[in-house]
């Protein structure tokens, strides 16, 4: 065996690459270890976690590592899938302790399997007052139907309907002539409907005009009514004033009535004395009348001769008066005597004189 160091390409243990290689290798190892450790830590590998379980008849779609979510947030994974003696399956979940605290006694787990999504367990926290028991943390379990199952169900339900549609379509195709007749009649009916619609449109226009006119009248009536109301309001105000006046008048009437009452009271009180005085007065008058009769009877005997001298005296007095009136300045102060005889003409010269002047 020749010495390897004889060739320039062969380097010994003191190769300058050695340190560089060790450093770069070390950095790579650290990066890989850190990455794996971070992933493992986030997946709860370094913590015990909380164990929950549920029992199901079949574990299709579930395996160790399947994601467990709560409200859409990943909180753990399936840790074990065990077959039980009664052929059921016990599925154990490892979940975050914080998520475990949110679960109530009626918490449940749903298996969700969508076409483009990996299978996952969705936890429903429940609404019971009591928390999930620590000694037996068993969850209810159900499977949500996949899109394929929903499609199969729809296919099962819609299949007969589609068959009926096919039959109807075939029947329609067989009676095409009838349908064309119906369509023609439908066309005619449509045209009639169009004419009717046009008439209705005209009627609507008339109605619109009438409504517009009536609206004007209504506006006028409303204005009139407003005025009437205003007047009524004013009348009411006046009536209120009248009532107030009437009240004051009634008060005055009451006052007068009060005074009248007082007068009546006074009259009532003084009436007997007054009646007595009146009676006495009447007796006096009777005596005076009697005296007068006796005097007149006595004078009747002497009066007629006296009366025969009166006319000449009257004539004398008239003459004196006429003479006096003719004396100035009395003649201008004493108006002429008014004629007792009606004039034959309706013209009153004395009344018209001021106008004529």
């Amino acid at each position: 065996m020749a010495a390897v160091t004889t060739h320039p390409h062969h380097r010994g243990p003191g190769s300058p690459y050695r340190v560089t290689v060790l450093i770069v290798l070390g950095i790579a190892a650290l990066l890989a270890a850190a990455m794996a450790a971070a992933i493992a830590y986030r997946h709860g590998m370094f913590s015990q976690g909380e164990r929950l379980y549920f029992v199901t008849n079949a574990a299709q779609g579930m395996s160790a590592g399947t994601t467990v979510r709560l409200a859409g947030v990943r909180v753990g994974t399936i840790t074990d899938v065990d077959l039980l003696p009664d052929a059921s399956v016990r599925v154990t979940l490892g979940v975050d302790p914080q998520a475990r605290k949110l679960l109530r006694a009626d918490a449940a787990a749903d298996l969700i399997r969508e076409q483009l999504q990996p299978a996952a367990i969705e936890l429903r926290p429940g609404t019971a007052d009591a928390p999930l028991p620590a000694n037996d943390p068993r969850l209810q379990f159900s499977r949500r139907p996949t899109i394929t199952e929903v499609a199969a169900d729809l296919n099962r339900r819609l299949g007969p309907i589609l068959d009926d549609v096919k039959l109807l379509t075939a029947s329609v195709a067989a009676r095409r002539g009838d349908i064309e007749t119906v369509i023609a009649q439908g066309g005619a009916a449509a045209r009639d409907l169009a004419a009717t619609a046009q008439s209705l449109r005209a009627v609507a226009d008339d109605a619109r005009t009438i409504v517009a006119t009536a609206g004007g009248q209504v506006k006028q009536a409303l204005a009139e009514a407003n005025r009437t109301v205003s007047e009524a309001r004013r009348a009411m105000v006046a009536a209120q004033g009248t009532v107030s006046e009437a009240g004051r008048t009634a008060a005055r009437v009451g006052d007068v009535a009060g005074r009248a009452g007082e007068g009546l009271t006074m009259i009532t009180a003084n009436l007997p004395a007054m009646l007595r005085k009146l009676d006495a007065t009447l007796e006096g008058v009777n005596r005076i009348v009697a005296d007068g009769r006796s005097v007149s009877a006595a004078a009747a005997a002497s009066l007629p001769p006296a009366l025969g001298n009166v006319p000449p005296l009257v004539e004398d007095a008239r003459q004196v008066a006429g003479a006096v009136k003719g004396i100035w300045p009395l003649s201008s102060r004493v108006p002429p005597p008014h004629s007792d005889v009606l004039t034959l003409d309706s013209h009153d010269a004395s009344a018209a004189a001021p106008l004529e002047r």
Partner: protein
């Protein structure tokens, strides 16, 4: 063709078996030095390329995929993260190694054969092919595993930054989503896959390099065969990995 493919498969496997069976050769200083040198050339010197590709992959591919599939789609996020971390990381790293190192290894070993022969004293006690194959297979495997780690870090980091910027969320929120969307074993699994691919690439390169016998025209043939064989090997390993995961 089937016979040829079978022969190639047996030859590749023999390289890997020889390297594995003679791992005690690592006690020798010259073999360790060769191993370190291979790690340096395939791994350390390739880190910048891998980082650039990883940054671009995370910033462009992951962001675009999430924007098309829906940022709230857990399945999309799961697929993108797993695809990026477990599948694309090792594959892209392997393709870089193929383009940059496997052809170099094939050419180097071919020229060794042509110039001096494996038995030449210049190459030390290389009477056994394992002494040529072992440091290269282990070195490329180690370098590939390392490059996968760098690729994952760069791709995930840039994807988180770009997604947070693109969708107006926080970095913390995106980190949280990423951590929940994948499993811890995805990281070592991808690194392991990268190591297997690197070892296979190096074994294929050594096989074709050692297969050169006396003609200079055999060298490009060996290089081309190494390229094709390495790509096929990477795809086969990835397919086997997917099948194993599904089963």
């Amino acid at each position: 063709m089937i016979e040829g493919s079978f022969r190639l498969a047996v030859g590749y496997t023999s390289m890997l078996v020889h390297a594995t069976m003679r791992r005690d050769l690592l006690r020798r200083a010259d073999v360790r030095a060769s191993f370190v040198r291979q790690v340096h050339r395939t791994g350390v010197l390739t880190v910048p390329f891998v980082l650039v590709v990883g940054l671009l992959f995370g910033a462009v591919v992951v962001t675009r995929a999430l924007s098309m599939l829906g940022p709230d789609n857990d399945y999309a996020l799961h697929g993108v993260v797993r695809g990026g971390v477990r599948e694309l990381g090792p594959i892209i790293t392997a393709l870089i190694v193929i383009a940059r190192s496997s052809v170099a290894i094939a050419a180097e070993v071919s020229l060794m054969q042509l110039r001096h022969g494996i038995h030449d004293d210049v190459w030390g006690d290389a009477a056994h092919e394992e002494e040529v194959v072992l440091p290269r297979v282990l070195g490329v495997a180690t370098a590939s595993a390392m490059l996968v780690a760098y690729f994952q870090s760069a791709a995930i980091g840039s994807a988180l930054l770009a997604t947070a910027w693109n969708q107006g969320t926080t970095i913390g929120n995106e980190v949280e989503r990423f951590l929940l969307a994948t499993d811890w074993y995805e990281v070592p699994l991808a690194i392991l896959k990268g190591a297997v691919m690197g070892a296979g690439i190096a074994a294929i390169a050594c096989y074709h390099g050692l297969a050169v016998r006396g003609a200079i025209g055999d060298v490009p043939k060996a290089v081309v065969a190494t390229c094709v064989g390495s790509v096929v090997f990477v795809m086969v390993v990835d397919a086997i990995g997917v099948l194993a995961w599904l089963l």
